[in-house]
């Protein structure tokens, strides 16, 4: 299905990804990371994106954020094609460590975008304090990022996005480096934020439970070159809690459904042929993606 026919005048979708394709052209390696992605996200939606490692989730996010130009197709945000990072958007990068400025303290890192928003000093400080406390880092505002543990750094990046109060929030595996308990807390933080502020959220994760617990919808991507394999609506009640929701029968069903799709995804890509990822100039290499379980045969 090609979305190119859709006119941008229907007010519904905030974000429209249409026939998105992205090829990384390098000197010795050209990779079609994303083959054909079409979907839309309504205002105030919370959509989780799951897919195998290397599927193109980060690529997709970077296209939506306007950091990467698609090879073809387009990303339409609020009716206009995305040309660069749109205002009012915040992104939490997968490489959290590198996205923090090492020359600034935690507090300064979180505060910088707020200064740009021309907020008053008092308001800024309040936002910084609240968001740092929300991620459990109220006690380290004066530390430098490189003095923090991995998980703490990731939470700083998260706090920065939260304090920014964006309209649209893109998160790329934002909880990958934090422990289970903190993770659960942060999940609840994201949901409460979403409910309170009506922000539209696109959440990339590789944790299926997390995707099902958090989202209204879960987009399952195939492995590279990528297409949308499935779009699962999560019909769990709006009020979720870590214990109750996760132990409900519907949760287990949805989880199983997504899991099944992911299993398929690992072995199927947008490409029906035997070359799920094309390495143009290394044709002598086996192009079929190997499964780790093959390792036993070593």
């Amino acid at each position: 299905m090609n979305a190119t026919g859709i006119s941008p005048d229907d007010a519904g979708p905030l974000l429209d990804v249409r026939a998105l394709r992205k090829v990384y052209a390098g000197r010795n390696r050209s990779v079609e990371a994303v083959r054909d992605l079409t979907f839309s996200v309504g205002t105030g939606d919370l959509v989780c994106v799951v897919g195998p490692s290397g599927a193109g989730k980060t690529t997709l996010l970077r296209c939506i954020a306007g950091l990467l130009a698609p090879t073809s197709g387009e990303v339409v945000l609020e009716g206009a094609a995305v040309q660069g990072p749109p205002p009012g958007m915040a992104v939490v990068f997968q490489e959290y460590g590198r996205s923090l400025f090492p020359w600034m303290t935690v507090q300064q890192n979180v505060e910088l975008p707020l200064k740009q928003k021309k907020l008053l000093r008092a308001r800024r400080q309040e936002l910084v304090r609240n968001s740092l406390e929300a991620v459990g880092l109220g006690d380290v505002p004066r530390a430098y990022p490189w003095q923090l543990s991995g998980g703490m750094q990731q939470r700083v990046a998260l706090a920065r996005a939260v304090a920014y109060e964006p309209h649209i929030l893109l998160m790329d595996e934002p909880f990958a480096a934090v422990d289970a308990q903190t993770r659960a807390d942060l999940e609840d933080l994201v949901r409460s934020l979403w409910q309170r502020l009506g922000v539209t959220i696109l959440f990339v994760t590789h944790d299926i439970d997390e995707a099902v617990y958090l989202g209204q919808r879960v987009l399952v991507l195939s492995s590279s070159p990528t297409v949308v394999l499935d779009d699962v609506a999560i019909d769990l009640p709006a009020e979720r809690d870590q214990l109750g929701t996760r132990s409900s029968a519907r949760f287990a069903e949805l989880r199983a459904q997504v899991f099944g799709q992911i299993q398929r995804a690992k072995h199927q890509s947008g490409d029906p042929g035997p070359t799920p990822e094309t390495t143009l100039e290394t044709p002598e290499e086996t192009t079929e993606e190997r499964q780790p379980t093959d390792a036993g045969s070593r």
């Binding site: 970077r62 954020a65 306007g66 950091l67 660069g84 990072p85 205002p87 009012g88 958007m89 915040a90 992104v91 990068f93 490489e95 590198r98 996205s99 923090l100 400025f101 090492p102 020359w103 600034m104 910088l112 975008p113 200064k115 740009q116 430098y144 490189w146 920014y164």
Partner: protein
């Protein structure tokens, strides 16, 4: 850790550290530096005394020291030092200011950078020395001549370092700045500037030495007042000892400049791995 007693103050903490502890602090460094310099002076004493070269042409340290002591008593010498330092400092300040501004403008506007690259490469290697007639023609044997030469030579050092520094921005950090919609100015101030700072500091150190060299060379060749002029006088009078004494003075100025630059670096780059690494064991 906390309530008072549990943790000794940081300064006293690390007596237990194993094998490869740092030990020497800043004082230790200064001591080592002095030791290095002393070694150098000893070599300078021994080489002429051993007859490797005649002491007529390269006097031993002790004789240079004698001439230096004499110089220090002369008002003329101090006037020359002041003149040189003035030319050096003004020239350096102008060069750094210009280099930073032009560097950031060119560095942040790719089109400009692309279209000026060839011209920069063309102008850079033109030696200041070749510009001497032009300088004399325009300004005579004055401070302004010296400044022209100093600025011309030092400017490129700063510019190139800044251009490369700006290029070194971490892509993820840059994307972060874009997505938060940071304005150009904020990006320059909070992203490009800190990234380019280590490069700039190297540039300043390079430029400081070049500026000093050019100030003295200009004085030497044009005859503007200053240490170079004194060196010329000593040279053409065959006063080898005082000539070397003057050279030692220029060298010491260079060392002083470097000490200042290092101080600056420690102050503004405390977050940088190169400085951080020196504080932990």
């Amino acid at each position: 850790m906390t309530p008072a007693a549990t943790v000794p103050p940081p300064a006293a903490t690390a007596p237990v550290s194993t094998g490869r502890s740092g030990g020497t602090g800043r004082g230790g460094n200064a001591l080592l530096g002095l030791l290095g310099f002393a070694t150098f002076l000893v070599v300078l004493e021994v080489v002429p005394r051993s007859g490797l070269v005649s002491a007529n042409y390269l006097p031993p340290t002790s004789r240079i020291a004698g001439a230096l002591a004499e110089l220090l008593g002369e008002g003329r010498f101090w006037a020359a030092v002041t003149d040189t330092l003035r030319g050096w400092f003004l020239g350096l300040a102008i060069a750094v200011a210009l280099g930073v501004v032009v560097g950031f403008v060119l560095g942040t506007v790719p089109v400009l950078r692309e279209f000026t690259a060839s011209t920069i490469e063309f102008l850079r290697p033109i030696p200041s020395v070749a510009l001497i007639p032009l300088a004399v023609l325009l300004f005579g044997s004055e401070l302004r001549s010296v400044l022209l030469l100093v600025v011309y030579a030092a400017f490129w050092q700063v510019l190139v370092q800044v251009l490369y520094g700006v290029r070194d921005v971490d892509p993820v950090a840059r994307d972060t700045a874009y997505t938060f919609g940071l304005s150009r100015w904020t990006r320059i101030r909070h992203l490009l500037w800190p990234t380019a700072l280590p490069y700039l500091l190297t540039g300043i150190r390079l430029a400081a030495a070049v500026a000093l060299i050019l100030a003295i060379t200009a004085e030497l060749i044009i005859g503007a007042p200053g240490l170079g002029n004194e060196i010329n006088r000593a040279q053409s009078g065959g006063a080898v000892d005082s000539m070397y004494a003057l050279i030692i003075v220029t060298g010491l100025l260079g060392v002083a400049v470097n000490v200042l630059a290092r101080r600056l670096e420690r102050a503004v780059l405390s977050w940088h791995p190169s400085v951080r690494g020196e504080e932990s064991p």
